[in-house]
């Protein structure tokens, strides 16, 4: 297979990978961030301490974290069908990707938010701020560099997961690697795909590091 044959396939697959990783990242951020903050707020010593909520959310996160992604991919098929109406293609892959990444990111958020000095929280309480003010004015802005670093890690994990999803009909670069590189013994193509994945991950890491450096004071 020469480059002219590979190029259009590669182009489409790259778009698909970026789409599924992008959407999964967005969903992960929207769900994982509040979950992680909730874990800190409801912990003992937190302003909303609530042992029941903390234990339940913590348990869900732990279960989500310990399930191997391949199992999740298969186990979620009925749920995926219900959400996007199909269980194959990149659209279908976004569901297990997000579900797998949410607990991962939530734990990272938790530890990032825990790193914020408790004295700052106390200062906001002393000036008459409530829990919402603490979250919005202190916890999130002060933890922002750490939250961003955590997001970088999560996106990279998602790129890896997306390739895995591709092997079971999820589309994207992983799908390409399996159907051409593996099943048709196109070693050259396989190498090209792997190189592209490496470049993608490196790019994400560099962008993430750059943004974190810019934010740190």
């Amino acid at each position: 297979m020469n480059w002219d044959d590979m190029q259009p396939l590669l182009h489409d697959a790259t778009i698909e990978t970026l789409q599924m990783v992008g959407i999964a990242t967005l969903v992960t951020l929207l769900v994982g961030l509040p979950l992680g903050v909730l874990l800190v707020l409801t912990d003992k010593g937190g302003p909303l301490r609530n042992a029941v909520v903390n234990k339940v959310v913590g348990a869900i996160v732990n279960v989500g974290r310990s399930l191997p992604f391949v199992i999740l991919l298969v186990a979620l098929i009925p749920f995926t069908r219900w959400v996007v109406g199909t269980s194959i293609g990149w659209q279908a892959a976004t569901v297990p990707l997000a579900v797998g990444a949410i607990p991962f990111y939530a734990r990272l958020v938790e530890s990032a938010v825990r790193g914020v000095d408790g004295g700052l929280v106390e200062a906001v309480h002393a000036m008459g701020g409530g829990t919402w003010a603490v979250v919005r004015k202190v916890l999130l802005p002060e933890a922002l560099p750490a939250l961003l670093a955590a997001l970088t890690t999560t996106v990279i994990a998602l790129v890896g997961y997306s390739a895995m999803a591709g092997t079971v009909g999820g589309g994207g670069l992983g799908n390409l690697a399996i159907t051409y590189g593996y099943m048709r013994f196109e070693t050259n193509f396989m190498i090209v795909i792997v190189v592209e994945l490496v470049l993608l991950v490196t790019l994400v890491q560099l962008l993430g590091d750059f943004a974190v450096r810019r934010l740190k004071r």
Binding site: P47, D117, E122, M127, G128, A133, E142, L144, R217
Partner: protein, 349 residues
């Protein structure tokens, strides 16, 4: 301005109960600088945090500027730490607080840090900027508005902390060891600023510290805290005039009374004479020597400015035991001097 009645605080940690406050009655008058001093673990930090209910007392009441905070929703003694009600939060907004470690947000500029409490009260953007600018001028940091806290020295950070604490136009400022992380010179300048704000704005200041120097240089009144209780309190002038006052002794140490120098020779009587204001102009030593023909040996002496007043203290040794010296001691007391008798083991008799 600040009154606490029979305040107690019991912590439970791992099934064990620890009393941090054992019935504290504090009374801070409007416009004064009141210092609570004590060793670490005496409960002073718990006390100041109970004043704005950052820490909920186990029992007792806290009243600040006529509002009984412990009667507000979410502020009742023993109520859970979380969930301050709207009124309590509003009341906290009118009490400024500065912290030992400044507690400035590293992600915000100096101006934005000062604006934070104003954001919480919902003040408009331009108003906030104007007010923050004024406050920064007031604390002498007008040129640092755009800097980040990490670019400031400790003293500058604390000035920002003070400006932020003043943003809500408080009548009361709580200072939780505000100078303990600063070097002596910076400490002096921060204390001078607090004094200035106290006088300019009529601000009532309650501060806690473990340094007598702080009490000596800015406070009008002081309380000594020990093991969860206030063992002594009053204006500095009154404390210094109180015989056997531990606080006065610590404010104005004349060396260790247990040392050889402090107790004098066997068979002699050691006195500590404190004089303030008018009495410091009298030549009482020579008067005493002339009138009663006693040989006075001066063991130590110092004059200091405490609470804006000249106060002197002298430790002298008179020959003979206490019985022999009843008349000279009476003479000294007649002169308006405060005389404390030091017994040989260093304890005030």
């Amino acid at each position: 301005m600040i009154t606490t009645k029979d305040l107690t605080k019991v912590y439970t940690s791992r099934g064990r109960q620890v009393s941090a406050l054992r019935g504290v009655d504090l009374h801070v008058r409007t416009g004064e600088v009141y210092g609570v001093v004590g060793t670490s673990g005496a409960g002073k930090s718990t006390l100041i945090r109970c004043v704005n209910l950052l820490e909920r007392p186990s029992s007792g009441t806290v009243t600040v500027d006529g509002v009984e905070l412990t009667a507000l929703p979410g502020g009742r003694p023993g109520s859970a730490q979380r969930g301050a009600g709207r009124e309590l939060r509003a009341a906290r907004g009118r009490i400024g607080m500065v912290f030992q470690h400044f507690n400035l947000l590293s992600s915000r500029t100096v101006r934005e840090n000062v604006e934070l409490p104003l954001e919480l009260t919902g003040l408009g953007r331009t108003e906030r900027r104007r007010k923050a600018g004024e406050l920064l001028e007031l604390v002498g940091l007008g040129d640092k508005a755009g800097a980040y806290p990490s670019q400031l020295s400790g003293g500058q950070k604390q000035r920002v902390g003070i400006a932020r604490a003043l943003a809500g136009d408080p009548k009361v400022l709580l200072s939780d060891e505000a100078t303990s992380a600063l070097d002596p010179e910076t400490t002096r300048s921060i204390l001078a600023l607090l004094r200035e704000l106290n006088q300019q704005l009529g601000l009532t200041v309650l501060l806690i510290t473990h340094e007598m120097e702080v009490i000596k240089s800015v406070c009008d009144s002081a309380a000594l805290m020990r093991d969860g209780r206030i063992t002594e309190s009053g204006t500095l002038t009154d404390l210094l005039a109180t015989e056997g006052s531990e606080l006065a002794r610590e404010l104005f140490p004349l060396g260790d009374p247990d040392s050889d120098l402090g107790t004098g020779r066997p068979g002699a009587t050691v006195l500590e004479i404190t004089f303030q204001g008018d009495s410091s102009s009298q030549p009482f030593v020579s008067q005493l020597a002339r009138t009663y023909q006693v040989d006075i040996n001066i063991l130590g002496a110092a004059v200091e400015t405490i609470g804006g007043r000249q106060v002197g203290r002298m430790r002298v040794e008179l020959p003979g035991d206490h019985q022999d010296n009843v008349v000279p001691i009476g003479f000294l007391r007649e002169q308006g001097l405060q005389v404390d008798l030091i017994s040989p083991n260093g304890v005030v008799a």
